[in-house]
């Protein structure tokens, strides 16, 4: 136990706890921090950059709780019903989850590039809709484009997660439903979904946490731009601390992130407890 705890305390425990102090100072990372009480709190409340970023995190969360969830459930349910090729499909779906975010970002930069991507290919057959669409350079599109790429990489993970859970659903319940004349949709809705409910809750939990933490894809694809239009809180922390050298304020933003994360965890812990009681 000792080595694990020592490493943990040096890297996570110590700095983590000191964050609580630095969050209430005007520290710039180099000089001695000065305690400034609630100044950072009032600054945060009036900081348009923070509200801009946290709003994007909320949009991110809504997108990720719907699109990949539906794709993951549909993919897993269909995979659980076919005989041949299930493991082949599973591998294909899962590979984007393994590939590095920096490479995935490049793939979609290439595909969505106006001169070297889909737009150029469509030009050849006379379709010019995408000619002047800059998916990552247009402030109305950037956030959604980034979320799209992140989703492309992520949904295969949900397929695998749900598939494992669906294989644990008691087969006799499907038999019974079929004898009663249920169609595929009814089997899915009335047997499969209730059968994997704990996993579904788990998926909602990690999605809500991860959309709070999202960093890689916006960082690589747009660096939060143009003009902050795809900035997320995790990027804001880095920008504030290491480009703006306002470590104290960055620590306060990070503390608020952690507080939100803790709230999510508590909410899901309560939901899980209720589930345990009902099932």
């Amino acid at each position: 136990m000792a080595p694990a705890l020592i490493v943990n305390l040096i890297v996570i425990g110590g700095p983590g706890i000191s964050s609580f102090y630095y969050a209430f100072t005007n520290w710039n990372g180099i000089t001695t921090p000065q305690f400034t009480g609630l100044d950072n709190f009032f600054r945060l409340v009036n900081d348009p950059d923070f509200w801009n970023a946290i709003g994007h995190n909320a949009i991110y969360m809504v997108i990720f709780m719907t699109v990949p969830l539906v794709m993951g459930l549909a993919g897993a349910f269909m995979l659980s019903r076919i005989r041949r090729g299930a493991s082949f499909f599973r591998v294909i779906f899962f590979i984007p989850y393994l590939t590095a975010s920096v490479v995935n970002a490049l793939i979609w930069k290439n595909l969505l590039d106006p001169t070297y991507g889909l737009a150029a290919e469509l030009d050849k057959i006379g379709i010019h809709w995408l000619d002047n669409v800059y998916f990552f350079g247009d402030s109305h599109l950037s956030l959604y484009s980034v979320a799209f790429v992140d989703n492309w990489h992520f949904w295969g993970f949900l397929v695998v997660l749900f598939l494992a859970a669906m294989q644990g659903v008691d087969a006799s319940r499907y038999e019974a439903a079929r004898l009663d004349g249920a169609n595929a949709w009814q089997e899915f809705w009335h047997i499969c979904l209730p059968g994997i409910r704990p996993t579904l809750t788990f998926a909602f939990m990690i999605i809500s946490l991860w959309s709070l933490l999202g960093f890689d894809y916006p960082y690589v694809l747009t660096d939060g731009g143009p003009g902050g239009s795809s900035n997320l809180v995790a990027l804001l922390v880095n920008q504030t601390a290491f480009e703006g050298l306002q470590a104290g304020y960055a620590a306060f933003i990070a503390l608020m992130m952690s507080l939100l994360g803790a709230i999510f965890l508590i909410v899901f812990a309560i939901i899980r407890r209720n589930e345990d009681e009902t099932t």
Partner: protein
């Protein structure tokens, strides 16, 4: 008990029992699955095929198949992108992180599953909370601490951070493996006169090997792909791991898609090969980890 161990027999049963009624519906399922597979797979094929095109060919034929196999991009990317150094650095980081995590998490999980430890429950809960907390909570003070003690821009500095981040998850995973090993085995060994260390290394360790392999794969993959800490803590070119070396190269040559795609292929090849050999373990490990991706 592992995820894969418990899932496998069940799936066999499920295959025999639950599907007969669904035969008529499978063409529909295959149609949609194929569409989804194209969505997942085609972009990767574009990466591969574009990496084989010259700049001129890329302009004329952006997404189609290449005319021939032109490996020039790979040679250029390797020479200009510092990918060799990046791969070497990543190899050091991955090995260091995996071995360090094995040691830390192995000892911790043995203690949690076998020894009479004070605050056992509290420690387990602490680990669970740590896994779920944003790394941003300690990122900022850690950065300035690391720069004060000179660990910034060094690979050991990065390795220590990765070990600390991965150990809680690895400990909990290994604990579930070790709890599944019957206690009668250690008692038998104890009667034969083995001490605690011998029990840990000669009885438990060999039996928990699949757990260690899973942990190694998940942790290795995470530290190979990791971006946030790599980009924050490492900036000197000679110590960049592959992810940030690749990122710098791709941003420097932003319109040279052939060249950059070749670099991307180089970065993916080790992961994809390893995955194809050890699919099942990768999938069960990652599904149980809830790893940040």
């Amino acid at each position: 008990m592992t995820a894969s161990n418990t899932v496998r027999p069940r799936r066999r049963r499920g295959k025999a029992d639950s599907r007969p009624g669904g035969i008529g519906r499978t063409p529909f399922a295959y149609f949609w699955l194929t569409l989804l597979a194209l969505f997942a797979g085609l972009p990767l094929l574009v990466l591969l095929s574009n990496s084989l095109k010259t700049a001129i060919e890329l302009g004329e034929n952006p997404l189609g198949l290449p005319k021939g196999f032109d490996w020039q991009n790979f040679a250029d990317a390797w020479n200009q992108g510092g990918l060799g150094q990046g791969l070497l650095n990543s190899l050091i980081v991955v090995l260091g992180t995996v071995i360090g995590t094995w040691i830390c998490a192995g000892l911790a999980s043995y203690a949690l599953s076998r020894l009479d430890l004070p605050f056992k429950r509290a420690l387990g809960n602490y680990l669970f909370v740590i896994i779920s907390l944003p790394v941003q909570l300690f990122l900022v003070p850690l950065f300035f601490l690391w720069s004060r003690v000179g660990l910034i821009n060094t690979l050991p500095g990065l390795i220590i951070i990765y070990i600390a981040i991965q150990t809680p998850f690895a400990t909990l995973l290994l604990r579930t493996f070790m709890v599944g090993i019957p206690r009668e085995l250690d008692e038998a060994a104890r009667i034969d006169g083995a001490n605690e260390w011998q029990i840990a290394t000669q009885v438990i360790l060999p039996l928990a090997q699949p757990g260690f392999l899973t942990v190694g794969l998940v942790v290795g993959l995470a530290s190979y792909n990791e971006l946030l800490f790599a980009v924050t803590f490492i900036s000197t070119p000679s110590t960049l791991p592959i992810s940030t070396a690749f990122l710098q190269f791709s941003q420097g040559e932003s319109q040279q898609f052939g060249l950059v795609n070749a670099a991307g292929v180089i970065m993916l090849v080790p992961v994809v090969i390893l995955f194809l050999f050890l699919q099942r373990r990768f999938i069960s490990g990652l599904a149980s980890s809830g790893l940040k991706g």
